[in-house]
């Protein structure tokens, strides 16, 4: 029914009806206005409970599939075999030292990357040419996969840890610098003006106003930088392995695949996953909880 000329149509009139007032409102008969949820309801609502059940289900499926269909263990080992291989490598083998090697290199590269990023960002904050330089250089080097630099790095620094660190710095630097710089740029006018109102300038201004205000962005950048660094490290160690390099977690995986010890490969992959999970869900989440979540700045 389209709107025709309102004058021509018969408009409904308001139906004026008697008022009433309830003089006495009785107590609600429902026993509680609010009642707590039952234990089962709350348990099933718990993310961890549900997700653990799914994980368990997947593991059961894995084992069942490989056993029932008698899958060639070289192609796809059973869960039980992989678990045993992992256990052996951890307890009797040299997996722990390989893990430590990888983590050590990662820490060197990550910290160096952070330091350089800090310098670049400070310069970018202080002057327009610094800002342009950062934007230009990031735009040029960010799209370059760190792995592609590995041949060059090996040429410059040889087949040692230095090459790995160089490549790691590259994978961390741009993500962190970009996020931090963008975060700084996005700090709201009112906050900046307050800082200057109190006479804060230079380093103190950066440390007391910009860094806290931009912390969500900084943290995101650090997370992305970590993710890139971890991937690059494992990948680089794999490539190294192809060129007879040294020992780390990636090299452990490569070795396993060369020796057709697929269960070892799975064990190695599992370790990579666990470390990644630990760092993201324990370390980073903890930092987040004590900072941006507590300050109400998290965007979840």
């Amino acid at each position: 029914m389209s709107t025709a000329d309102p004058q021509a149509r018969e408009l409904p009139e308001i139906y004026i009806r008697p008022e009433f007032v309830a003089d006495d409102i009785g107590e609600a008969v429902i026993s509680d206005i609010a009642r707590p949820l039952s234990l089962f309801e709350r348990l099933w609502d718990n993310n961890v409970v549900r997700k653990s059940s799914i994980l368990l289900g997947l593991v059961v499926l894995w084992q069942a599939y490989t056993v029932i269909f008698d899958v060639e263990p070289l192609m796809f080992p059973r869960f039980s075999d992989s678990a045993v291989a992992l256990w052996n490598a951890l307890v009797y083998g040299d997996l722990p030292s390989k893990i430590w090697f990888s983590i050590k290199v990662l820490i060197y590269g990550y910290s160096a990357g952070l330091a350089i990023a800090a310098v670049l960002v400070l310069w970018a904050t202080a002057s327009r040419i610094g800002s342009d330089f950062l934007a230009t250089v990031t735009a040029m080097f960010n799209p370059l996969p760190a792995i592609a630099l590995l041949p060059l790095a090996m040429l410059w620094f040889g087949l040692g840890t230095a090459s790995l660190v160089f490549v790691l710095i590259h994978s961390v630097l741009w993500a962190v610098a970009l996020s931090t710089h963008n975060g700084f740029m996005a700090v709201s006018e009112p906050l900046r003006m307050i800082g200057r109102n109190y006479g804060l300038t230079g380093i103190r201004y950066v440390a007391k106003i910009l860094i806290p205000a931009a912390f969500p962005s900084i943290l995101t950048g650090m997370k992305i930088g970590w993710a890139f660094a971890w991937r690059t490290l494992i990948g680089a160690e794999l490539v190294f392995g192809a060129s007879s390099g040294s020992g780390g977690l990636g090299w452990f995986i490569f070795e396993g695949s060369q020796n057709l010890e697929t269960a070892d490969v799975f064990a190695g992959l599992f370790t990579v996953i666990v470390i990644g999970l630990l760092v993201e869900n324990v370390i980073f989440r903890n930092v987040e909880a004590r900072t941006i979540v507590r300050w109400g700045m998290s965007r979840s």
Partner: protein, 279 residues
């Protein structure tokens, strides 16, 4: 349950019809992380065509929850709600809602497209041309002709609400549901919007169910006001306000009614602290 009292000022009923919306003893509940909350308890009301029906009450009286129930987003635990005789079971374009939040407009559509989207998807229009025509008509009614191809993020709060109202009215629903639509606007814009809403109503006498926590707004905008008392929401009174508008705001009669409602809500009940999220 409660004795009904006929207050003064009763007018002879117009030769009228069936209620368009019948809420019959409705109890609404919802879950939060730890609790099950009863928002309204056995609320009954009838809305007739051309009513500007207002749900008025403080936080915790269940007015927004009741509105969402009428809209079909919540099922009653007790009782039933019927629109033109049919039980309400799910949301639908016959009860279009205008929300309080500005992001009710789809940001990826222009002003005009927001309206045509509703018309085409809500089944009101079959083809684009018809939808465009109707959209233009209602954009004109809310005086935003110049902005028909603008994206919402460039409009002010008041303009966004006008688009939302135009969109709702263009659908020509059986009943227009409004959830404190002016609460997020500054006082001057709010007053302007109230006036515009009343002018729009003069045009077509549409039926509207309007939620507010402001007694003054209820008396200005509404023709019939349902007063809800909180924790849980129960019907305290239904009063007539069809004779009151912006021009009466200073009057004795207006002030007296305001005081009467205020006393109803705050004098004979101890104000409880809000334990849970307000409705």
């Amino acid at each position: 349950m409660a004795a009904r009292e006929q207050a003064a000022g009763v007018h002879p009923a117009a030769a009228n019809a069936e209620p368009i919306l019948d809420v019959d003893g409705v109890t609404l509940q919802y879950k939060t992380k730890e609790h099950l909350i009863t928002a309204t308890y056995r609320v009954s009301l009838q809305i007739y065509p051309a009513d500007r029906f207002v749900l008025l009450g403080p936080s915790g009286c269940g007015k927004s929850t009741l509105l969402k129930g009428v809209a079909g987003y919540l099922k009653p635990v007790e009782g039933e709600m019927r629109l033109k005789g049919r039980t309400i079971v799910e949301p639908g374009p016959d009860r279009v809602m205008v929300f309080q939040e500005f992001d009710q407009l789809l940001p990826w559509k222009t002003v005009k497209q927001n309206i045509t989207f509703a018309l085409l998807n809500g089944g009101r229009c079959e083809n684009k041309n018809q939808a465009n025509e109707i959209a233009r008509e209602y954009i004109h009614k809310v005086k935003l002709d110049r902005f028909e191809d603008t994206y919402p993020h460039m409009l002010s709060g008041g303009m966004k609400q006008r688009v939302a109202i135009a969109r709702g009215m263009a659908m020509e629903p059986d009943i227009l549901l409004m959830d404190e639509p002016f609460a997020a606007l500054d006082a001057l814009t709010r007053r302007q919007m109230q006036e515009e809403l009343l002018q729009l109503w003069e045009d077509t006498h549409f039926t509207v169910l309007f939620v507010t926590h402001s007694i003054e707004e209820a008396l200005i905008v509404g023709s019939r006001v349902l007063v809800l008392s909180p924790h849980p929401g129960q019907v305290k009174a239904e009063l007539n306000a069809h004779h009151l508008g912006h021009t009466n705001v200073g009057d004795e009669a207006f002030a007296a009614l305001q005081k009467r409602i205020h006393d109803m809500l705050f004098a004979d009940r101890i104000l409880e602290e809000e334990v849970v999220a307000h409705v």
